[in-house]
């Protein structure tokens, strides 16, 4: 936190002495450092993810065939929920200690700063969830090819989950009871990603080509990356009015 508030203050006083690129990197480093120090932010969503996947065999059946069939969907639902759960930490502490307001006042494009924050967040949640997915695929007896489809889908899909979630968080960050409302706003938007992501796994299980699903996720990611930061920046400005 120290690095960022120092940076933003100095940029205001010395007017444009820090380029936007430098500010981007500083903010990224600061957010990563903060998150790594505050272990709960990234360890808890990870355990939540593993826990939800564990519930599926317990709730439905431990039979191998049924597990294989639902593995893709189960892991995707777990990833979706734990990204949603972790979203609250994206702006909350910055909102409470006032550094979010500094970010808005800084002479750099807010959407760029938002991308930096999103990148830091994704590296510690979405990417981590993706890296742990082979382990879960193993637990649910997913064949290797389907596991690859799952991994590729999560790699491309979790950034979209972060971006869409961030729109919801930016809209609700100023509210007391943001939690359930956030899921209500964001879940319907997550549906296409869930469909393409778990669809890739199912296609791989059927021995079909699953690249088309990943391409779709890729184009959705491009769309989210181009429009999302503006929506998030606009929503933040409204929330901090």
């Amino acid at each position: 936190m120290t690095t960022s508030s120092a940076t933003t203050h100095s940029t205001i006083t010395q007017s444009h002495s820090v380029s936007s690129g430098q500010a981007f990197m500083t903010l990224l480093r600061r957010d990563m450092l903060l998150a790594i120090r505050n272990k709960g932010d990234w360890v808890n969503p990870l355990f939540f993810y593993l826990l939800i996947v564990m519930l599926f065999p317990l709730a439905i059946t431990p039979q191998k065939d049924s597990l294989i069939e639902m593995a893709g969907g189960a892991i995707w639902i777990a990833a979706l929920l734990s990204v949603l759960l972790s979203m609250d930490s994206l702006f909350r502490s910055d909102f409470e200690d006032g550094s979010l307001e500094q970010l808005l006042l800084a002479p750099h494009p807010l959407s760029l700063m938002v991308i930096s924050k999103l990148l830091a967040h994704w590296l510690l949640t979405g990417l981590l969830l993706t890296l742990f997915s082979p382990l879960l695929a193993l637990l649910l007896h997913l064949p290797f090819e389907a596991g690859k489809a799952l991994f590729a889908g999560l790699l491309v899909g979790t950034p979209i989950l972060s971006i869409l979630g961030a729109i919801g968080v930016a809209l609700t960050v100023g509210l007391r009871r943001g939690g359930v409302l956030l899921s209500l706003l964001v879940m319907p938007l997550y549906i296409p990603i869930l469909i393409f992501g778990s669809g890739a796994v199912l296609a791989a299980l059927d021995g079909l080509s699953w690249a088309g699903h990943i391409y779709w996720l890729g184009s959705l990611l491009m769309l989210a990356l181009t429009l999302g930061p503006f929506a998030i920046a606009g929503a933040l400005r409204i929330s901090l009015e």
Partner: protein
Amino acid sequence: MNWTFFHKLGSPKWFYEISGRWLPWLVISSAILMTVGLVWGLLFAPPDYLQGNSYRIIFIHVPSAFLAQATYVMMAVAGAVALIWRMKLADWALKCGAPIGASFTVMALVTGAVWGKPTWGTWWVWDARLTAMLILLFLYIGIIALRDAFPSQQTASKACAILALVGVVNIPIIKFSVEWWNTLHQPATLKLTEKPAMAPEMLIPLLICMAGFYLFFLTVFFLRLRNEILHREQRTRWVRALFS
């Protein structure tokens, strides 16, 4: 292009007066069209060769499904106008559209499910259109819930405008993905409303019903918008003049 119309639209007083003049005509024409269309559809249109008489649900299902989607798009356009030109009236239009659109979505869902029972044999089938309609209902609920959560009206309407815009970008993606998911999982043998070509004896009453429902939407939308104007402008002189 003449923009005075657009600027006048921004004036609640002007809209209140003009909508008051239109309202009787809207009420009469929507009542006539809905009566004619529904009586025609229920009594005079021939039964469907495949579905028998159960297809008569089409005369309320299709108009409500159309309106449910059109209302959301209208709200998104209003949201964009409110954000860009800071037009009060557009803010209020966004607010007034939500309950109407949500009620039409519920109507489309329920009539679709009831129609599914004689057609597919179950109350609910994960059919692409019904599923997309269900997701649309959640988009509406999200907007209504977001507005309720804010203590300040002004912040709430801006937040809702952004959410409506994000939603309207997502609606085609959702529709496409749901349709894709549907064809992969269970190719629907019999779609409720899709036919090679609808016979004119059925199509004409359907079109009349749709026109009637659109006019009905305009009627109740104006009623709500006029209430909102009275409520928000109650301290102005022109509203007080109405009551003295």
